[in-house]
Subunit: 115 residues, 2 copies
């Protein structure tokens, strides 16, 4: 598992924003697949990191970061990932929205030393 | 409160991805300010919607959507918002990362009728 918030290089790079609503079914199967997909994504070319949160109401946001749009296309077409996408639409999600974007600028605040 | 996942127009448009870690202090004050900022953001020019989730571990992701980068700059400079940003850095966040990006493409799945 990667640490979150993700540490990313200087922009520009790309992000996939995946906002989803679970249907409430098969929590164990879903959790196992989500963990496997995070592991598999992290092994792909151009992967820069991932931030993911799901609330108690079933709404989730996962943002993955990539060096290029071609890296995103490559990950999207990965056979095991395609299988998971299909199962997600059929068994786990009530609704989702996926956005591919180019990160133009970024800034942040790091934890205070010793915090 | 807006409905989530947000409904957005055809790309291109812009998104602000805000990934944060709460410090665990002052939940009530933070929740009140977060609600006020969502309300205020929704009243700004160019606002298109917002998706926000916080997990039990204190990690949160808020994505707001905007018509142009100028709309984002305008919201960022809003006096009451600036006050909230300052208080966030001082009192509520341990760490955060903010990314401004241009949404290039989007697709999704809507709930089945009657679901």
């Amino acid at each position: 598992m990667t640490s979150s918030p993700a540490t990313t290089p200087e922009p520009p790079y790309f992000a996939v924003i995946f906002v989803s609503v679970r249907n409430g079914a098969d929590d164990a199967g879903y959790a196992a697949m989500a963990a496997r997909m995070e592991e598999l994504a992290a092994a792909q070319p151009g992967y820069l990191g991932l931030d993911s949160v799901r609330g108690d109401d079933g709404l989730g946001i996962t943002v993955s970061y990539w060096r290029t749009e071609a890296d995103i296309a490559h990950w999207r077409a990965h056979a095991e990932h395609r299988e998971a996408q299909l199962q997600g639409r059929r068994d786990w999600y009530r609704q989702y929205e996926l956005r591919v974007c180019r990160v133009e600028r970024a800034h942040g605040m790091q934890p205070a030393p010793g915090a």
